[in-house]
Symmetry: C2
Subunit: 354 residues, 2 copies
Amino acid sequence: MEIAEIGEFGLIRHLTENIELKNPETKRGAGDDCAVMEFGEGRQVLVTTDLLMEGVHFDLQYVPLKHLGYKSAMVNLSDIYAMNGRPRQMTVSIALSKRFTVEDMEQFYEGLQLACDAHGCDIVGGDTSASLTGLAISITCIGDARKENVVYRDGAQATDLICVTGDLGAAYMGLQLLEREKAVFNSQIKNEKVKIKNDSEGGLEFQPDFAGKEYLLERQLKPEARKDIIEALAKEGIRPTAMMDISDGLSSELHHICSQSHTGCRIYEERIPLDYQTAVMAEELNMNVTTCALNGGEDYELLFTVPLTEHDHVAAIPGVKVIGHMTKPELGLLLVCRDGTEMELKAQGWNPLK
Amino acid sequence: MEIAEIGEFGLIRHLTENIELKNPETKRGAGDDCAVMEFGEGRQVLVTTDLLMEGVHFDLQYVPLKHLGYKSAMVNLSDIYAMNGRPRQMTVSIALSKRFTVEDMEQFYEGLQLACDAHGCDIVGGDTSASLTGLAISITCIGDARKENVVYRDGAQATDLICVTGDLGAAYMGLQLLEREKAVFNSQIKNEKVKIKNDSEGGLEFQPDFAGKEYLLERQLKPEARKDIIEALAKEGIRPTAMMDISDGLSSELHHICSQSHTGCRIYEERIPLDYQTAVMAEELNMNVTTCALNGGEDYELLFTVPLTEHDHVAAIPGVKVIGHMTKPELGLLLVCRDGTEMELKAQGWNPLK
């Protein structure tokens, strides 16, 4: 169905009419000038926002719209957890070019809703509009936390332990894999080796080679915000001294925490958690797997620091790994390599403006 | 200065380093995973968001970036007032194509800051990124109000008075004027009648004809959210039964309020507030001025309803005009024309997806 048939208000109504509000903090969702919420006494409100542009942040040639909706929500949920908060509400704005249909937007919302349901977050409004070019997505997520539980980036002390969750570099390897198969596909299209199937799916006779690399694809296309870790930390009674989520790469995030906490750090290459598939893919692409883990980005794992005294507690939480410790600022940011040599950690990160 | 020179984090730092936080509710601004705020007991939090796309919502050929920043903020502030709230915080996301410089973004932020300062709103974060094509702007505004003061669209009763602030249709006439002069300019460029001046301003030897129409331009390029009216209503102890801001046109907004309040309405053509310049411009363009006032949009005035008993109170507030009254839903939405005939109010509004 063409979106023009139902118009802006029709599309918004269609996409939002079945949304159920789950949080008692959400007083009113979509349908007025503002969404309305109310938080209990002693609670602080957390707000984060992300703007995702087609061709810069995502490539619709290989990202299904449902996955895009899921991931768009997830990257914002991750920022709320990174403050030790719980996500409560989300606003979703989309600008669409004419090539999108109502069904496309249903797919996008399905992914969005799946992510929000898994994290107890209400979709409370947004904006839908036209775009002359590609798809633009802007999501704002609102969360809350008891005042004394909010964790910033600036609270790390010089002797704190540095912890990361999950494993790193796999989402970046997934991106490389997708880009490689896209290049193969495009060159086959160019040489007319691929036929466009004339079926209802409009599919193509092309089978990308993802065998044995499913985990990398999942990490790139369907990242998971670490609600489980935030719950485990709360259960263990551990309040991190500083925390953020790893979206631009471990190196870049360590620079943020060290700079804001006025510390240095020392992490150990052998302690950086890697998945087997990440290592295999890096090998295939002739890349250094540690570099990928340090600078790849899009992991959406948590990086946090805890006092030295919490070592046994924190090391016992499944999915958490201690990778090093904070130091005095004058000692700099160092990576201790497998052979014992020390290297300065460079914040390459991901600079979309370069 | 090229934005690539300072990168994403550099640009954000540059644009946000001088931002002062003014509200005691704002606990942390830009620089962490989330902004943090805390509202007093009994207060509700209001959230609104808008996504503005180049070529759809604004035309940089005639909108200066400073005005664009100002207006982008204002349309969101207006939504907070439309709930009878006070704006407190704002997040600002921008996606930029390569043609923008650091100075361009300074201009944009200058306008943004000017609007926020005038309305006591803190800029607390956002996202800055690249765009393959035009400029995309996403703003989320957060406000608050005492729980019992929040005004929705669904509270109007069948006998309530309908009020609007300011005058209507001028912003739309301003847009027509700018489009007309743009067309003149472009045709002169095409016919090589305009020379590009070789001075530091990079200006053009073209003088658009805006004489006597300054008010229309101001309404289009520099709208003002009606903080003054919200304050006056509070001072008079009047709580509207329903309220929204007029962004898509009076007709469209009346449809929203009537539909959500389950009422009809009857408004009087002769009561619709118009500026003299709006009438003159409509005449020049051979348009019906009432149609412009009903469907023009971008007025950012307030439309609200009050109980009949408040008539004298509300009519005494400068800038407020009673234009009709609500009715039972079965009576429909009617415009009583100057000659006494009745017409059905159609919600043409502005449909960017059509």
